[in-house]
């Protein structure tokens, strides 16, 4: 009780409020700028907090986390560039809706869904952090592999028109994840003697290249056409009506719960949470709504944005209760705790309860501030995108280059980014979907590591995969998910495939 008082005293002091505002605004802005992500912002800010009080430092960092996951939706909707990886799925429906003349609606849906996602996952964080985190340690490598397999199969249902193209994209993504060190043997593979490739291809340059650079290329090719940055008008339509609440309630809750759960699992971040909720929302929708997915579906935006914000609370659960990071950002936050002389782990609850409650409180307060700020200021943030394109494009390119470079101050990452920019552009021209590539790229190493660890533990036997109840459930679910679209295709094969 005393700890809660201490935490709220910090949080609601003028300084604390200022830090929430600063962190959230910076997070939203960085999140909105393609190529600059929350992970980067937080990693860059961490050294700046060394001289601050640990509690104040964490108020700032958590606010940045909340802001950055939320800000990505602005550019995802208005520019078709996911400001952060977490907003990939928002791009698929937010942009078409904005293009169809309803950018305010698309942003409004995203913003409110983000807020609700944050609140629901926050409830999980404060009530269940202990027990749930304990349960997640019971999952073995085979369970993890089966879970990731399930997520990989899910991409088939979001792949767009052609399942074969989606699988091609995904398998190329898997291929791109292979170079570097094989985690199971510790040996190098597929580096072709090129030493810079020893570290593999990093997610950030690949992502910036695929989504931002390829977009810049096609934008430049259309420089003489009309502006593709979608103007924001009628900001009143951003607010949720009573009908919206009624229509989306189930979707909001389902997506937030999915996001929270995916957030809890170590190593799987906001982007996967968003993908899973998107797929789930699609399969739970009526056929006529399913048709709209990828073309500007309201349900899709709500699912994607509530889930990615819900991963924040989810990912914080293992961080505060076990000292195990649930996402990339949490790994940086874990480092932050250590740097400030705090011992993450169950002892944190006993030794520094005020820190636990600060993290929880900051997440909530920042979430509230986020929705206010986004609703009021989204048009000003969007103005960054309203600059003339002939000026904006070089600026975006410089940001992409610095963003890739600052990751580990290596020029190699910049070249990687440019290469994947060209690849992404080629993909777009050949109508190969990009999202499965990224999903394959992110998930393959997780699947591989877990399968290898499992096989090493079982001495090479695949049997535990179907013997363990948890992994069996996931395997069966993947099989069902794989069969469902094929079944549908057969059943509706009379109707022409548009």
């Amino acid at each position: 009780m005393e700890a809660i008082q201490t935490a709220s005293a910090y949080l609601f002091s003028p300084q604390g409020v200022m830090l929430v505002v600063l962190g959230t605004v910076l997070g939203i802005t960085m999140g909105a700028i393609p190529g600059l992500t929350g992970a980067m912002l937080i990693a860059l800010t961490l050294p700046l907090t060394f001289n601050m009080d640990p509690i104040n430092a964490f108020i700032l960092l958590i606010s940045m986390y909340v802001g950055s996951i939320s800000g990505g939706l602005i550019t995802a909707t208005l520019l078709r560039m996911p400001g952060t990886p977490a907003s990939i799925m928002t791009t698929m429906d937010g942009y078409p809706m904005a293009k169809a003349g309803r950018p305010g609606r698309a942003l409004g849906l995203g913003i409110t869904a983000s807020f609700v996602g944050g609140c629901i996952s926050w409830l999980f964080l404060i009530t269940l952090s202990g027990p749930i985190a304990l349960y997640s340690t019971k999952l073995g490598p085979f369970d993890f592999f089966a879970l990731v397999l399930l997520a990989l199969v899910l991409i088939a249902s979001i792949g767009g028109k052609s399942i074969s193209l989606a699988f091609l994209s995904a398998s190329l993504g898997v291929l791109a994840s292979l170079p570097g060190i094989d985690k199971a043997t510790g040996n190098l593979r597929m580096t072709f003697g090129f030493e810079e490739l020893n570290g593999g291809l990093k997610l950030l340059p690949v992502l910036i290249g695929l989504f931002a650079i390829s977009q810049v290329i096609s934008d430049l090719a259309r420089l003489e056409e009309k502006i593709t940055i979608i103007p924001l008008k009628r900001t009143r339509e951003m607010l949720f009506s009573l009908k919206d609440w009624k229509d989306q309630a189930v979707n909001l809750i389902r997506s937030s719960v999915i996001g929270t759960w995916i957030g809890i699992l170590p190593g799987i971040g906001a982007n996967i949470g968003s993908v899973s909720a998107y797929s789930a929302a699609k399969s739970f929708s009526k056929p006529e709504e399913q048709e709209k997915f990828g073309k500007g579906s309201e349900t899709a935006i709500v699912a994607a944005e509530s889930a990615n914000n819900a991963t924040i609370g989810g990912a914080l659960i293992p961080l505060v209760s076990l000292g195990i990071p649930g996402s990339v950002v949490d790994a940086i936050l874990l480092g932050g705790l250590l740097i400030h002389g705090l011992q993450p782990g169950p002892l944190l609850f006993q030794q520094n309860p005020e820190m636990v409650y600060t993290i929880m409180g900051a997440m909530f307060v920042s979430n509230v501030f986020m929705i206010l700020f986004m609703l009021l200021a989204v048009r000003y943030i969007a103005r960054l995108a309203a600059l003339p394109r002939s000026l904006l494009m070089p600026v975006i390119l410089v940001f992409c280059i610095i963003g890739s470079f600052a990751l580990s101050t290596r020029m190699f990452d910049v070249w990687t980014m440019i290469f994947f920019g060209l690849l992404g552009f080629a993909f777009e021209r050949m109508k190969v979907p990009l999202a499965p590539f990224v999903i394959g790229f992110i998930l393959a190493p997780i699947a591989e590591e877990n399968l290898q660890a499992g096989l090493m533990a079982s001495n090479g036997s695949f049997l535990p995969l179907v013997q363990r109840p948890v992994s069996l459930i996931f395997i069966l679910a993947s099989a069902l998910l794989l069969a469902a679209p094929l079944y549908k295709k057969f059943k509706y094969s009379d109707t022409p495939d548009s």
Partner: protein
Amino acid sequence: MAARRSGDTTCLTLEQTRRDVAFHLQPEQTMVDRYVPERLNGRRCAQWGHDSMKSAFGPSKTQSQIDRMTETQRSALKHSIVGLLILFSIAQYVKLGSSMGDEFPRKPIRVVVPFQPGGGSDTFARIVQKAINDYELMPQPLVVVNKPGGGTSIGSSYVKDARPDGYTALCLHEALMVAKSNGQSPNGPADYEVAAATGEFGVVLLVSEESPYDSLGDLMSAAQSSPETVKFGVNLNTPTHFTAIMLENTLPGARFRFVATGGGAHRLAGVMGGHLDVIILSVGEYVRFKQNGLKAIAYLGKERVASIPEVPTGEELGFPVYSGNLHYWWFPKGTDASVVSYFAEVLGKVMKTEYVTQRLQELQVLPRIIVGDELSQRIDDRMATFGTVKPEQRVELPDFERWTVAFVLVILGIVIVNRIRSQKSETDSESGTRLRYDFAFGALAMTIVYVLLMGLGFVSFVWATILYVVAAGLFLTRMDRKKWIPILQVALLMSFGLHYVFTQLFTIDLP
């Protein structure tokens, strides 16, 4: 203003943009829609309402003059803010250049940590950084740079190839030697000048509290009597793996079943979830996590540690494995000896500061420092020890590369077949406007030249960026003279401004 009242933000923005230009040029002339495609402005504004039309094209003359006055003032204000920002960042840049002294170090020393931020090495390096900067132990600050990847080889290669001027160093523990002796990295101690080894941290062997192995003896005899059944979680080909093999070597016939489990957090989860039988963690990690139902069965050091006096050493139990580790500070080969010893001296002072001793105690790291002959002796000893360890692959694993390549080829085949079959329906719907690939690829070529210039170190970030933004801006606007001033503004803001933000505020290096 009318447009504002109607909530019509875009027309307002476009109008403002036009007026920004107007500020620089002849105000009257620019009302013509050259800046913004006519179609957009005309049609959309018309759709959105009369009010905005009025303000944009100004049917009421007095009203529009008043508007323009205030707009011009607003624009002037905006431009003076931009100008101030540019001046401020240029001033910062100049200040940075003039702050260099005559003696070493004349500029900040960059320390490369080949791991992600937040890990043990990163934390340690940043503690040293803070001590040097806070106690002013050097006239210039220390800057920590993370270069993770490739085991540790990305970071170690970077420092090996850096100019040996003393301004680039590597902070890396014995992983450097392990990576060298298993061939994972081409870089070994011989490629560097070593300044010092600091901050000793030991490791412990851990089992779950419910584990059938009550002691190291139990564990070893189980590994001996039924080889390759005891599941040992390690990070393959890193010091943890080598330590485990050295442990096997102390008892003939003892063999563990190695399970690749990555970092400390994953190992911990594995042993807690019952998926692993035994793991290695640093003392600091053990102290932090022991409440989670863990039991230390041995400390792998020469003598017991004060913070966990109840844990016996491996040697006491008859399994003499010593796996103490320190953070070594490496400079590129050929760095001047006086520079290296100067840095060792600074580190000596660092380890004595109150801040460092206190922080290291919290992390269960001993504030030890080894320099000179003792240090080279230690490196030779450790290299010899690691040379005797031969890791091998014990379980046949599926060949992921082959499977992936095969899968890609199969899918590619299907896609190609599908394409051929449905070729007639494949008409390009994207006609209408001609795509300007000369713009796209011209700008891309400029970007590549820009990256090349910085990558090869010909030009620094600031100048390359000015050049690039101006060149690309002029190219994309087709040398439109009206855009020169905004282009220059953007160029200056991007170059000096970002340089200030990254190097001064965030202490991140730019090319």
